[in-house]
Symmetry: D2
Subunit: 146 residues, 4 copies
C-alpha cells in the first residue's frame, strides 16, 4: 500500500481500494486473457458500471495486501468480478464490480467475446472452489500485491 493512499485517519483511504480492484483486474487479464491491451486491440472497451465494497478492517501504510478475484456472471455484454482483499489471512475488504463491453468505435454494447469467456472459464476452473466473500480458503484468480 502506498503512503499517498493513506488519509488523516492514519489508514488507507476508502477510495484507494477502488483503484486496487482495478490493478487486480488488470493483473487478472494479463494472466488469463492476453492483457487489457489485447482486448482493446480487438476493438472492445470494458466499462465499469458498478462498484461495491465492504470494509472490514483498516489497512495501513506499507501493508502487503493480497487481492483474490474471480470473473463471474458473463452474460451478453456484461460480466462481474468478485474480490477479497486480505492481509496475512485477515479479511480487509470484500467487493464486486460490474462491467459492460462496448465497441471502441461506436460505444454500442457488444457481446463479451467468446474467447474472453473461454479464457475466464479456463482460469476459474483451475481455481479452487469457493468464492470471494464466502471465505474461500485458498481462492482463485490473480493474487495481486497492492
Amino acid at each position: 500500500m502506498r503512503f499517498a493512499e493513506t488519509d488523516a485517519q492514519g489508514i488507507a483511504h476508502h477510495a484507494a481500494y477502488v483503484v486496487w480492484l482495478e490493478v487486480a483486474r488488470v493483473a487478472y487479464l494479463a494472466d488469463h486473457a492476453g492483457g487489457y491491451r489485447s482486448i482493446q486491440e480487438k476493438g472492445i472497451e470494458a466499462l465499469t458500471t458498478g462498484v461495491q465494497l465492504e470494509y472490514h478492517l483498516p489497512a495501513y501504510f506499507d501493508d502487503a495486501l493480497t487481492i483474490r478475484l474471480r470473473c463471474v456472471d458473463i452474460r451478453g455484454a456484461r460480466f462481474r468480478y468478485e474480490y477479497r482483499i486480505e492481509r496475512e489471512g485477515d479479511l480487509i475488504a470484500t467487493g464486486s464490480t460490474s462491467h459492460a463491453t462496448v465497441s471502441r468505435e461506436t460505444h454500442a454494447p457488444t457481446r463479451v467475446p467468446a474467447w474472453f469467456a473461454a479464457a475466464v472459464a479456463t482460469a476459474e476452473s483451475a481455481a479452487p472452489e469457493g468464492r470471494p466473500g464466502r471465505g474461500a480458503p485458498a481462492p482463485p484468480g490473480t493474487a495481486s500485491r497492492a
Copy 2:
C-alpha cells in the same frame, strides 16, 4: 470535475466518484451539523464501512455535477447516505455509503450522538420528499458541485 480525475477512456475514472461522495458528505455536515471538525472535537470519528455506486452515464472533464444526498438509517453506531450525481438533470450515478461512529480515543463503536441525529432529522424534514435513486424531482440535502 477535475482533469486529473479523467482517465484514458476520456471520462471520469470510476474511483473519482468515491471521492466526490466524500466531498458531498463534508458539505452536508458543514451545512447541517457544524462540520466534520465539530464531530471530531466531540471525540467521535466516522468510519466508512461500505460504498456502492452504479454508473449510468459517463462524466467528462469540466462537467458541472450536482450531488444530492440524504443521511438515512441512523441506528446505534451506524448510519448511511444515499446519493444521486446529476448533470443538468441527467442522472450520472447513484450510490450509497455506510458509516460507523467510533470513539477517537479507543476506536470502540460509539452511538451516533443524539445531536447529530437531531441535526439530520431537521435537514431531512426540510427537504422535499423523494429519495436518491428513486427519481426525486428536486431532492434534498446538500447540492455540491464536484
Copy 3:
C-alpha cells in the same frame, strides 16, 4: 481541501498540490481564455512538461486555500505558470509549471496561438504588479479555492 487529499501525517499529501495547480489553471483559462475546451476545439493540446513546488506550511483537511497564478514567459510553443498557494494570508506553497502546445492531431509542437497570448496579456495587465513567489500583496490572475 478534500479529506481524500490528506495522508497519515495528518496533512495534505504533497502530490495533491499538483492537482490543485491544474484546477487553478483550468479556472484561469475559463476566466481569461474561453476555457480549456475552447483551446482543444482549436486543435491544440497543452502538455505539462515540468512542475516545481516548494512546501512552506502544511495544509489541513477543510482548509480554504487560495491559489494565485500568473501565466508567464510565452515563447514559441512554450509557456509557464507561477503560483502561490495561500491560507488566510499565510504562504502555504509556491510553484511553477511549464507547458508546451502541440497539435491535437499530429502531436507536433505548435506555436502558442496569438489569441491566447493576447488573452493572457490582457489578464496579466489587469492584475496588480508583483509575482507569485515574490510576495505580491494582492496578486493577479485567478484566485481559486482548492
Copy 4:
C-alpha cells in the same frame, strides 16, 4: 503504471509521477535503511519540502517503468533525492525531492540521524557512478516498478 493514473490525454497524469517518486523512496528505505517505519519508530518524521519534475516522454497505461534514485546532499536536518524514470532505456522523466527531518512529537527540525546518513553512504557507494539526470548508464539505488 495503473489505469487510474491515466488522464483524458491518454497518458499518465503528471501528478501520478509525484506518487511514484514516493513509492520509489519507500522501496529505497526498505532496501537500505530498515524501512520508513523504522525511521518513525526512532521518533522521526521526514517531511517533503519540495518536488521538481521534468517530463520528457509520455508514459502509457501498463508501461513497466523503472525509477532510479539516489539520496544526496544530507546536511543538518535536510536531504534530497534525485530520480530518473525510465522505460526500457528511454528517459521518461527526471526529478528531485527535498526533505526535512522533524521530531514526531514536537515537529521541531531534527538532525538527520547518523545511522541514516551511514546507511545512505553505504547504499550510494555500492552504486555505479553517475547521477540521475546526467545519464548514468546503469545507475544506483533502488529500481522500482511503478
